[in-house]
Symmetry: C2
Subunit: 284 residues, 2 copies
């Protein structure tokens, strides 16, 4: 499977992510079809020429013709879809996804697929606090990180195809992690940060907080605007790892608290120096 | 004291904040002098025409000629300065500051001043993760919040003068809070967020974290790049209030942790819905 202008992409699920994939590929001149679950998204995608063909039911013709399938569904919906329709996928197709957790997904999907099509999982590290194909925007991928998550069942060709897709879409760093490494890391850099934002936003009763805040508070709570159905599913799918990351954060937060309570300015200053040194690596 | 183009401003301390005040006022055509504590800042300010006159010692002439004095020093340095030099200030001068805590500052400074000059405290809610007059930039104030912190010793004229200064500099919302209200709020929206960022940045050992992060992690840790000398001083000056805010945050974080640990998805979803609803108020 080598991606070229004859390749037919099929995106299953046209929300913010699926829609942004569709826009990015279409703008680069690729053939993109889509399957969605509501007429509104279909009409929007067709009238805005984000895709060529679009159906709001499981259209066997579209599936059979697809060379590269991109799944942008909720985790449990993705698994159910593959279970039900996986047999319709072309033998030499490459399948990828955007799912935010991997441990419970990648091997499950690979085991559900018939002999033939290759599922190579990926996680585009980009998002917005808005939803739906109406808000999709291919620019959110420009320069963002993209994690490819292969297992031993994947081939070099499948992995290359998945990376090629990221290049076409304009991602920045493209890295590989195992499902376990991915979930530990995502538990830390993404899920834990959302837990913090939600806790911060819910803990203080003040109706007019926006009058008094600086950028720091706005930055820390931007992601407190959260899709509760999707994110609670992702949290529970990565429960053990996220619980560990929350404990880790809490122990350091507690250390800072104790330094303040006991008047231990040396420890406080040491933590601040360390955090400054580490954070500076990000801006290099 | 009515601010007009004959008003002489004196900025004491030309770091990021003092420098930005100087630039903003100078660009609007006001007369700005400054007192700094190092030759390098003085040379920079003069050669970039950020101020008219600048001295790197306590210049009595500059102090005596000043109508409005703006102190942009570390809290303890500010108090020491007033203690030593307060008597040099003109009788009808208005004095303001940028100090990040108020309870232990405002009444102290007011009590140290001789009869005559009026100290009206303020907190510009803006900042950057860089330091020094070289990085100063008046644009960081545009649209930002500005908190005026009067006590019963302040006059209507003093408060108006302080607000006028904020208008000239382009601040957005200008609000009034008492020293106690200010410190509780700042403990929450600013100091607590810095505690979170420092804890988050120090708790995970991974040298190459920047390869895997999304915007959420970068946003939450931007302020982890922190001036440890200034911020540890600010934290200890607002110790009781900050400890309470840290406990409050921790109890909500713990609630989310328990909901995940015990499989209580309803509580998790409820917290996420509340956080989303509250955060949306910010973007109105």
């Amino acid at each position: 499977m080598i991606i070229d202008k004859k390749t037919r992409f099929l995106i299953v699920g046209l929300g913010l992510m699926g829609g942004s994939y569709a826009r990015g590929l279409t703008q680069k001149g690729y053939h993109v079809d889509a399957i969605v679950n509501d007429k509104k998204s279909k009409d929007f995608a067709l009238s805005h020429e984000i895709v060529r063909q679009c159906s709001d039911f499981v259209d066997e013709e579209l599936i059979k013709n697809a060379d590269v399938l991109i799944f942008a569904l909720y985790p449990h919906t993705f698994i159910e879809w593959i279970e039900k329709n996986g047999a319709l996928i072309k033998k030499d197709a490459v399948i990828t996804d955007v799912t935010g957790v991997k441990g419970c997904i990648v091997e499950k999907v690979q085991s559900l697929l018939p002999e033939g099509p290759e599922f190579i999982s990926a996680h585009p590290m980009a998002g917005r606090e808005v939803y739906g194909v109406e808000n999709s925007d291919e620019r959110m991928f420009f320069g963002a990180n993209y994690i490819v998550v292969p297992t031993e069942k994947n081939t070099e060709n499948g992995i290359e195809c998945c990376k090629r897709l990221a290049e076409i879409l304009g991602f920045g760093r493209i890295v590989e992690l195992s499902p376990k490494e991915h979930d530990d890391l995502i538990g830390f850099v993404s899920q834990l940060t959302h837990c913090i934002a939600v806790s911060l936003m819910t803990c203080y009763e003040n109706e007019h907080l926006e009058k008094y805040t600086a950028d720091s508070f706005r930055d820390l709570t931007r992601i407190a605007n959260i899709n509760e159905v999707l994110w609670s599913e992702l949290f529970f799918l990565n429960r053990d790892s996220l619980l560990r990351q929350m404990e880790l954060f809490e122990s350091h937060f507690r250390k800072l608290y104790e330094s303040l309570k006991t008047g231990d300015r040396d420890t406080m200053i040491e933590m601040m120096k360390e955090s400054t040194a580490r954070r500076k690596l990000f801006d290099k």
